[in-house]
Amino acid sequence: MSTESRDPIAKLREMETSRIGLYAVLLFGLVFYLFPVETAVMTMFKTQDAFIRTVPFAPPNADGFTLEALMTAWNTLRPGLINSMFMAIPATLLSALLGSLTAYGLTTLSWRGQVGVVVFIIAGIFIPYQAVLVPLAQFWYQILPDLLNGFVNTVFGFITGGNWTYPSRNGYLQLLQLSVTHAAYGIPICTLLFRSYYQSISDEMIEAARLDGATAFSIYKNIILPLSLPMFAVTLIYQFTQVYNDLLFALVLVNDPASQVATQRLAALTGGVVQSFNTTMAGAIVAALPTLLVYIFFGEQFAKGVAGET
């Protein structure tokens, strides 16, 4: 209880001890949030022998230091990293662009009932993906090839006598399917992020442009798009981490070993029967590297995306 009559010096001293306590708790927090990362980094530089003998937190001793685990992990994961980029970058760009267009159409051009469409699409953020997994697999494995077959046979049937068959799925086709899937499921969250941003853009500007005879498309191109660049940064960064980090869709859609993405390769490394923790930890760090770098350089934008705010 603080009272007015207290000695100001004593009060100050009390404040200082409470400040020290505050920083102590915050530092404990740092330890709590960093220790799994720290022990992973330390472990990846240790030889098999050293990591059994030393404390997990401690750096390797002189003869226990090795880069071998890191090299092994890097070589195992490198194809996966390339595949992940190949899949995640187009998916991210596409979902951000589509989200921006959707948000523009559902915010700036107002009509009755648009909130219903907004609720319809925003709800898509929250569905557990397990609820769409089996149909998704069915769609990519069977329905789409059948549709394409039917289409191609109808169009070219008279040339080939109806015997044209859709080429078998190869690895890169699976990655493309994964990319499209991620783009589609990214639309809801991207729409939400852009919509809350567009809602705060002044109407006067848009109304003035309309009165000058600007079309909806030219308003988007000349006013909205330039204004959305900061929001594009937020959305792209957030969405890239989400797509890159996903395992579930990749497990279902990519079964060609050559086209496995980084998370799949890491999961295989972790789930292996013989666990050599220095290699798996190195794998974790290598697989985390792209999103870690994004986070280190664009932490603020990432946080805004996470909080779903502008």
């Binding site: 997990p56 009509w111 769409v132 149909p135 705060s200 990432f302």
Partner: protein, 356 residues
Amino acid sequence: MREILKRLKTAGDTLRSAVRRDASDEQPVATDGGTETAVGNRRRDTLRNSLPVEWELLESSPFWLPPVLLAGFFVYGAILWNAVLSLTDFQGLGEPDYSSLDFSMYAQMASDGAFWQATQNTLVLLVVFTIFCLALGLLVAILIDQNIRFENTFRTIYLLPMALSFVVTATMWSWVYNARSGVFNQLLRVFNLEGLVITLLKPAAVNADVVQWLSWNTTALAAVIFALIWQFSGYAMVVFLAGLRAIPTEHYEAARVDGASTVRMYMRVIIPQLRASAVSASVVLMVFALKAFDFIYSLRGSQPGANMDILATMMYRVAFDSLQWAYGSAIAIVLFLLALLVIGPYLYSEYRRGEL
């Protein structure tokens, strides 16, 4: 008081106030985003007055209709299809037989012990994970809000685990929980507590000289929940921090003038105002928990036996490992309904408040 007055503005706040200037005649209301509702309505009114509604619909549809159809097909189309598949007895080979639909998969589910166990685990995970994340996030947010130095550094590190994938964090935690040389057991050994923990937590039929966090039924789920709290409490922190920064400084001052202690001030004045933040954070956290598939799938790795199945992992196992696609679809429907139970009321209330 002065500390609070000098409160650092986050980039988000600056942005928000900058773009809000067209509504500057309206005083920002702290409680529940009332300002934004007013702004939204006002905009709708002005535009509606200037243009016919049909024209707006026609003109705007090229922008939103294709993405909505695409996402709608993948989300709602797939869910409906999944519901139909759950009524077949599709085994993953050839075409599903749509001619005879019945609820046999749901009957099988009702008598499946593994399903009930997974449901129970899901509910425990949902509740415990969400409560602890909220509590920890709130505590950390309040501490960070005390006008501390290096605020950005603390915030960045607390949020760091969220940037990592489930597979990465699961890999790290499988090492932390490792029975022979993992961090936890080494710590226990340092404090000479290993024997005590083994006596307390060891399942009856097991013979063990080390704590096997991930393969004991008594500890596996708790281990999963603890690691998930580590990964996502930073999210709750960010949401609460935004909520705290939206509370006007006058509220702090008024409580101070009334002679309330810091604890009382937070308990009586500040925390009750964070209701909206708590609701939105808990909805998103529960959705994370329902989706925790990637984490458990990777954490389990090659250590079967321990019971840490949730509905999400069970669904995958049943559908894609055992190729019982119809049964998997049925489990997925239960999971979806559970998610609907969480998000339905939330979306409805957001809709009613004009937040969407």
